[in-house]
Symmetry: C2
Subunit: 200 residues, 2 copies
DNA sequence: CCAGATATGTAGTGTTCACTACAGATGTGG
DNA sequence: CCACATCTGTAGTGAACACTACATATCTGG
């Protein structure tokens, strides 16, 4: 098999730069010119490697969720439902205000509403948020089986709740809320999970 | 004073139509063509009346928040902090899944991240969300003064929390969550407020 | 009924967008 | 060293965008 000229840029490094542009400006707000400049490549290289703008977004989302899933594995490793919620939401407060990244969460900032022709994008983001929620739900199902959550507790509702709070915190972060403000939200939010927990 | 030819469309009716387009597609995703068609007018009428696209958005936001504030007044009229939170979040669950409107909340769907040249839009939305949060905070301050909330409770944090949950619910609604799913989230969320309340 | 003022519809304007044709560069297999 | 495959940079492409010039229509004040 003939190989041809090898690619001169690293795809993952380039994706990290593209991720940041989508994160800051959203899918529709990000232009190919901004993306190629951030990635340090020219348009033909982008299209050869990722197909089109939406393909680039998906690749960036894949990378984002891959990194995030590693962290989520640590989150659900916490010993109790309450500890899972706390670790998750406090971590979110830190991550979404980390100056190394744009504020907020790519899975929201990417675009919750898009124009004609990009209707797919919000679905794509929602699907990845749903993955997170499922992971939480599975963890809360286990927590209930372990007697960690009350008999009356609904693991799916709890997971949806924690997911909703984290999304809300992300929007707040993107509009200027600082780490401390988000941690206060997380602190209150955890108490709802605690209310569903068996006493310790 | 000379009056000239009178306007042939009703500005508020037209705004309602524009609001829906922004709500469904976001600021950047909404095109002037879609807006004018929905409003039943031609571009020159739009620009004469609202200045430009961003002016139209602001006018639509004004109308949106005006209607919403009427509802918020009812919310904060609830007798206790817990009742306020419940009335607010349960109402949000209903409103954000009302088939009469696009799903979710205009103050989020409008655009949490925008491209170069529209950086103002996310700020504009955030400012109006902040108004809501302030109203909640004032109510919770009163609740604490009335002995309805514990001495350890932080009214500002509680308000930020309720605001975050409602934003999170909005994003969920926009990605397909139904009324019942949102009411479950609201139900869990209220328990955190309850945990900050004095016993009854 | 006339003069001035404002609104409307048609038909554009220049700009920016996502995307690509093409030619030259750089690799591999024989 | 050659045939071929793939990548890269330059320089565009048509389409869609927000916005507007202009002629016409419809009002008010006098």
């Amino acid at each position: 098999m003939r190989m041809g000229r090898p690619r001169e840029f690293d795809a993952e490094t380039a994706l990290d730069q593209a991720m940041e542009v989508f994160w800051r400006h959203g899918y529709e707000g990000a232009t190919i010119a901004q993306l190629t400049e951030a990635m340090g490549i020219n348009p033909p290289s982008l299209y050869a490697c990722f197909g089109n703008k939406e393909g680039l977004l998906k690749a960036a989302l894949d990378r984002y969720t891959k990194l995030r899933n590693i962290w989520m594995d640590e989150v659900v490793a916490a010993p109790t439902a309450r500890a899972v919620a706390e670790r998750m939401l406090m971590g979110i407060a830190d991550k979404q205000t980390d100056p190394a990244n744009p504020p907020g969460c790519l899975l929201v900032q990417g675009g919750v509403a898009c124009g004609t022709g990009s209707e797919n994008v919000p679905f794509e983001l929602a699907a990845r948020r749903a993955q997170n929620e499922e992971q939480l739900r599975d963890r809360f199902v286990r927590a209930k089986a372990e007697g960690d959550l009350k008999e009356s507790a609904d693991p799916a509702a709890l997971a949806r709740y924690v997911s909703a709070v984290s999304v809300g915190m992300g929007v707040m972060a993107s509009s200027g809320a600082d780490r401390e403000a988000l941690r206060q939200v997380a602190d209150v939010a955890v108490q709802a999970v605690e209310a569903q927990s068996t006493k310790r």
